[in-house]
């Protein structure tokens, strides 16, 4: 059994240290920009719009000085799904897509297979959207520590506290989840190793082959849950001992700075995304 090293396969959620322009932005700016761009991407159906968005995404990747190869490697786990989806869309969805600014033309029809210029466009647009979204999501977490993201979200939700929203409690839930995720992953690895050492049929040749029976998953899940609950119990005591009593009356160590660069980036992405949305039906192809 090769070492199970989960960290290797996931680019989303991995912080890659750096001092680029993007790294230094306030998390609120990045979250908002991410939201605006996601909206723009979701509603853009034309080739032109997607080309523009792809360029903008690549521009952001360059500005963040994150390696494109690294981001592409994050595609790898999803690749089988993308390919499957693409093939299905291409071959079988000819009827469903009215192509953007084009007359539907059937290119090939054999039995169930129905390829049209619409389905080709669908495939290209979907794939490019997927890549854009993946890159942006990875980028967001590559340039912002998850804890800073939670601080950003909490800061954005804080004004709603007056309406009864437990902003700090929610962000603490996120903070604690983030904090314990690597620990639970490590614990899972330790448990699997211990069970494998007892002969449990767990891992073959570097890939985890989870046989679907509940019985066999139990060797991992039962101890993992027990461990998680035990940690939770300990943590509750520790938080009580440190006088945690909810968000009321708390001060905050982390002070976010929203400066001129942030305002600029915020404004630009807002305007750009709004423009893309408003003009989405106006692009030539």
């Amino acid at each position: 059994m090769e070492s199970i090293q989960f960290q290797r396969y996931i680019t989303i959620g991995q912080y890659v240290a750096g001092r680029s322009l993007i790294h230094r932005l306030d998390p609120r700016t990045k979250l908002s920009a991410f939201l605006f761009l996601t909206l723009a991407i979701t509603f853009s159906r034309s080739y032109t719009a997607n080309a523009i968005l792809l360029l903008v995404t690549l521009g952001l990747v360059l500005a963040a000085r994150v390696s494109i190869r690294y981001l592409l490697s994050g595609l790898r786990p999803a690749l089988p799904f993308i390919l499957l989806l693409a093939i299905m869309q291409l071959l079988f969805y000819g009827n469903a897509y009215v192509p953007y600014r084009m007359e539907p033309v059937t290119l090939w029809r054999v039995g169930w297979i129905h390829v049209t210029n619409g389905s080709i466009q669908a495939v290209i647009v979907s794939t490019s959207r997927f890549v854009e979204l993946l890159f942006l999501t990875s980028l967001l977490t590559n340039t912002t520590r998850l804890t800073d993201l939670t601080h950003g979200i909490e800061a954005m939700l804080r004004p709603y506290r007056r309406l009864g929203l437990p902003a700090h409690e929610l962000s603490l839930v996120a903070t604690i989840a983030l904090r314990f995720l690597p620990l639970l992953a490590e614990q899972a690895e330790n448990i699997l190793k211990a069970q494998a050492s007892r002969g449990a049929p767990i891992a073959q040749r570097g890939r985890l082959q989870f046989v679907a029976t509940a019985r066999q998953l139990a060797v991992l899940l039962v101890p993992l849950f027990v461990d998680a609950f035990r940690r939770a119990e300990d943590l509750i005591l520790a938080m009580q001992a440190r006088c945690y009593a909810g968000g009321r009356g708390r001060t905050c160590y982390v002070q976010l700075q929203f400066d001129r660069t942030d305002a600029l980036v915020y404004g630009l992405t807002l305007v750009f995304s709004a423009a893309m949305l408003v003009l989405r039906n106006w692009f030539p192809i």
Partner: protein, 302 residues
């Protein structure tokens, strides 16, 4: 007795997350040998590679192209090796082994290993009974207890029994006494000695307690930063306290005392590994021989 060592490690290198930006080298060129029936200790400061090393002994981790790990003649670098058999021959008990318990009833959890080996029910039951006896859990009283209702110390015994039930030829224990109170720790070590004595089980002990090492193993390897920094019989290694201390460890108090006194010429430089031995040595050095050798009662109040 076979002349071939039970475990032989040559030039073992290992890096976690190799090929990624987060690569970290854990082992650099380790060479090590464990012979059948021996008791070997592996010590080293935190992060020196001890756990990584012992996980190579039962094939959990595999050597890369430069290193070699031979277990009872089988080459663990060869993909055709029967790793199920290796898992049975080399029983590995992890740190806080209680974390592996998953069955509802104690008896079932201990029987898990033998079941995976395809052992039939009557023999399985015998193995469970034997394993529980070895760790000091009464078979009838504990076999139908709920695993999660036991105390920490009892759960640890169940976990160790679960590995013993495989009847391994080599038992590797990674810090298995850590977190135990003094009397539980002494009990576990006593039982391991008994196992070694009765079944000729080879023992590999990873520990951060120097006193444990001094009194329960014959040879020791000291790891530092992924390599073997010192090795030899326990006496040979503990004869150099300054070197041991530079590696972030220490020697047992009684050994340190004898060493200090040897430096001022009061003793002959022998290396005592236990308190009674130290007392004999010091009394002899002061010209006060005990009335009968070994008459220094430490009592069996333990």
């Amino acid at each position: 007795m076979s002349q071939q060592p039970m475990i032989r490690v040559s030039e073992l290198h290992f890096a976690y997350l190799r090929g990624t930006p987060m690569e970290v080298t854990a082992l650099r060129g380790i060479c090590l040998e464990v012979r059948r029936g021996e008791r070997v200790g592996i010590i080293g400061r935190a992060g020196s590679g001890k756990s990584t090393l012992v996980q190579h002994f039962n094939g959990l981790l595999r050597p890369d192209s430069t290193g070699q790990v031979l277990v009872a003649g089988s080459d663990l670098g060869d993909p055709a090796t029967d790793f199920r058999r290796i898992h049975q021959q080399i029983g590995l008990v992890f740190q806080t082994p209680e974390q592996q318990l998953f069955e509802r009833l104690v008896g079932d959890d201990i029987a898990f290993g033998p079941k995976q080996l395809g052992i039939e029910r009557p023999e399985r039951r015998e193995r469970v009974r034997w394993a529980m006896e070895m760790v000091g859990l009464d078979f009838d009283a504990f076999k139908d207890r709920l695993t999660l209702s036991l105390s920490g110390g009892e759960m640890r015994k169940v976990a160790v029994a679960g590995v013993l039930a495989l009847r391994p030829e080599v038992l590797v224990l990674d810090e298995s006494t850590s977190g135990l109170d003094p009397s539980s720790r002494r009990e576990m070590l006593r039982r391991l000695d008994r196992l070694h004595h009765e079944e000729n089980t080879t023992l590999v002990l990873v520990s951060s307690s120097m006193e444990e090492i001094a009194e329960h193993v014959d040879r020791v390897y000291v790891l530092e930063n992924g390599s073997v920094a010192m090795h030899g019989s326990v006496r040979e290694v503990f004869a150099h306290p300054e070197q041991v201390r530079k590696l972030g460890l220490d020697v047992p108090q009684v050994t340190a005392i004898a060493h200090e006194l040897a430096l001022v010429g009061l003793t002959d430089g022998s290396v005592p590994l236990s308190v009674p031995e130290g007392a004999e040595l010091l009394l002899a050095a002061l010209g006060l021989h005990s009335a009968q050798p070994g008459a220094l009662g430490t009592g069996d109040a333990r």
